[in-house]
């Protein structure tokens, strides 16, 4: 996985982005939302920020075992 496609800026190099954390399960309690992570080897749904670009918060789903990126959405607009 060398590039992510920002909805505003297009495909950009990975070092422009910062990974924040995996998205908590729906209805996770506050402790789980802060400390626990969803560790799946087939799909990972994550919060990222285009920190060194437009600074948009992104919702990325990708496969952490192959590096394939499935989708990048603006955070809050993911289905």
């Amino acid at each position: 996985m060398m590039r992510l496609t920002c909805p505003f800026c297009g495909a950009r190099e990975l070092h422009e982005f910062q990974f924040h954390k995996t998205a908590p399960e729906p209805g996770a309690n506050p402790f789980a939302a802060v400390y626990e992570r969803v560790n799946r080897t087939d799909i990972s749904q994550e919060y990222w920020q285009h920190l060194h670009g437009c600074r948009a918060w992104l919702y990325v789903s990708r496969n952490p075992s192959t590096g394939e990126v499935y989708q990048v959405h603006l955070l809050g607009t993911q289905s």
């Binding site: 060398m2 990975l14 070092h15 954390k21 400390y35 992570r37 560790n39 952490p64 075992s65 192959t66």
Partner: protein, 424 residues
């Protein structure tokens, strides 16, 4: 049934030299998977093998199996930068890592296998006054615990690490450093092979190409594991799977405070002796550690790639960052060619300290969350984890490293960085 490997000595090596190829036996014999064991250890890396070795040696557990998905030493025990040290800040960590360092000092004799412990010194560098204050704080904490630490000014660093004498213009000059002289390197593959050989000689079954796919439970108690070679009954199960710790949590239905990140390392072509110790510099945007292997290659590593991955394929920008930092410290190495680079999967916890605790069931144990400290802690982890499994009580050294500390607020936050493994 067990094929005893010859005990190594100067005499046996000499005899082996003249006895022809039949003298050398496999270090651990290829045993068949049995139907039932007292303890099944999942993962034949450093921690799994050391745990099995101590279970058999110290606690007389008869039937122990180590099940490995791939090969002995395929994971992080063969992918690290071989550094051992005990220069930690928090008492719960530095007493534990000091126990490990003391065990490294005698490990070759204990295992009857040369692990090439080299106490060449680990030197943390400071390039600013603020970094000196931070190093002094850590050094003082170590000295209060009776661990060797020496704070050096610029002249002291330049005298100890002559390779740092400027061979070009250094953008930021060295202000000082913190030296742990007993720290250094250990030949990483030899640790896996030595533990496997010693455990095998004590009757431990080491089964490669045997993936554990599930846990078998009856009435709230684990009774065995499902594997790619069929079911195995087990009195107790220990998971020591490093980068796949989070996946084990998912398998057991226990979300863990763990993320899996890649950590890269690389080695250059061999050169004549240049770097005498292990040089470490942690800066606001990453870090770099540099040493020279016994073969002459310059080994370098740095910070995590920064997002969850199991690919073991590193990211290019991190590689660049490590090389730039290394060349900034040692301009002499700028022309060297990198021979190999690789990545390991690190199980990063939310406070930067490891976990050895029961997980979900009374007879299932988790040995994981090692962050950057996995390799250097192997001997202490094996001894402590084996004692926990055999006696049911966690030894004092790992009493604080529970899984429940995250919920109760008793975090061991060495870095003081909050619930994120990666925040630069």
């Amino acid at each position: 049934m067990s094929v005893r490997a010859p005990r190594y000595s100067a005499w046996s090596l000499l005899r082996g030299r003249f006895s022809g190829p039949g003298f050398w036996r496999p270090l651990w014999s290829g045993r068949q998977l049995q139907k039932a064991y007292d303890v099944v250890v999942v993962g034949a890396g450093g921690h799994g093998l050391a745990t099995a070795y101590h279970l058999a040696r110290d606690h007389g557990v008869r039937r122990v199996a180590v099940l490995e998905k791939r090969l002995v030493g395929y994971g992080n025990v063969g992918r690290n930068t071989t550094i051992v040290r005990s220069n930690y800040l928090l008492p719960q960590n530095h007493y534990f890592y000091e126990d490990a360092l003391r065990r490294w000092e005698t490990l070759s004799r204990d295992l009857n296998y040369n692990v090439m412990y080299s106490p060449r010194g680990v030197l943390d560098l400071a390039l600013s006054d603020g970094e000196m204050v931070s190093l002094a704080r850590r050094g003082n904490a170590m000295r209060l615990a009776g661990i060797d630490a020496e704070l050096m000014d610029r002249a002291g660093v330049m005298k100890f690490a002559k390779e740092l004498v400027p061979a070009g213009t250094r953008r930021f000059d060295i202000v000082g450093g913190l030296l742990q002289q007993r720290g250094g390197t250990v030949r990483h593959d030899a640790v896996a092979w030595g533990y496997a050989r010693a455990a095998s000689a004590l009757g431990v079954d080491i089964i490669e190409d045997c993936e554990v796919t599930g846990l078998v439970t009856t009435a709230g108690v684990a009774t065995g594991v499902e594997t790619s070679q069929g079911p195995v009954a087990a009195g107790q199960v220990v998971f020591a799977v490093a980068g796949h710790t989070g996946a084990i949590g998912t398998m057991l239905g226990v979300p863990l405070p763990v993320e899996t990140h890649l950590l890269q390392a690389m080695v250059t072509e061999p050169i004549k002796p240049l770097i005498n110790s292990v040089l470490i510099y942690v800066h606001p945007h990453g870090e770099v550690y540099i040493l020279q292997s016994d073969r002459g290659g310059v080994v370098m590593g740095g910070f995590l790639d920064g997002f969850p991955s199991y690919t073991r394929e590193g990211r290019w920008s991190r590689l660049e960052d490590v090389v730039q930092s290394a060349v900034a410290l040692l301009p002499q190495i700028a022309g060297l060619r990198v021979l190999r680079h690789w990545a390991g999967t690190n199980d990063m916890t939310m406070d930067g300290s490891f976990i050895i605790d029961r997980i979900r069931y009374d007879n299932v144990f988790l040995n994981g969350g090692w962050c950057y400290g996995g390799f250097k802690s192997i001997p202490a982890s094996g001894a402590a984890c084996a004692q926990f499994v055999a006696t049911g009580t966690a030894p004092d050294l790992i009493r604080a490293h529970t899984l429940s500390r995250f919920a109760s607020g008793h975090l061991l936050d060495e870095r003081g960085g909050g619930p994120f493994p990666v925040r630069l």
